[in-house]
Symmetry: C2
Subunit: 112 residues, 2 copies
């Protein structure tokens, strides 16, 4: 088991210590998502979603990739935090239901 210095672990846990971001990361662990999907899922503003994703990206937890009109986010598997995070995500219940809801409403983006 790799160790992560406390000076790095604490800010990481703080970042994940927000319900919205933690759910985002849990979802991204299984599916790429674009911003507008998160807006639907969390019933919040686009700005708020964008700012949360920025923080995740600033720490290198996620990466963005443009696909046409949309920008998709995915987990950065090469991150030094990746295996650490996995141990946490594995203990959280699946959030796939939230994506399933989107699909049923026809709001899931499946471009490209």
């Amino acid at each position: 088991m790799e160790n992560l210095d406390i000076n790095k672990a604490a800010p990481l846990l703080k970042l994940l210590g927000d319900k919205t971001r933690l759910t985002m990361v849990k979802i991204l662990d299984n599916h790429d998502c674009c911003v507008c999907e998160f807006v639907e899922i969390f019933k919040t503003s686009q700005s708020s979603v964008s700012q949360h994703l920025r923080k995740l990206r600033d720490l290198g937890l996620v990466q963005e990739e443009r696909r046409g009109q949309w920008i998709f986010y995915s987990l950065q598997k090469e991150s030094e935090y990746y295996s650490f995070i996995q141990q946490i995500l594995n203990q959280l219940p699946s959030q796939d239901g939230k994506l399933k809801e989107l699909e049923e409403q026809g709001l899931r983006i499946t471009c490209c």
Copy 2:
């Protein structure tokens, strides 16, 4: 592996997302400690240590026990968060060196 609801996991991670508290919990995972030891370890005020411990106790992560003049804190192994936390602590480097320093300075409390 037990699951922990996101509504509980997020505040827990937030609580652990502080370097002082995370280190405290890591230390407590192996050794009971009293407040004045933490004051030495973190080179901070007694009040600050006390307030951090209060937050950990409010969530049920630690418990206190008076031993004579001192109040010792230990991890609450019966906490619903305990196994979740273990997965995190296992990925952190040992902080025993900090206690060893105390011993060398003769500041480790070993009453009762």
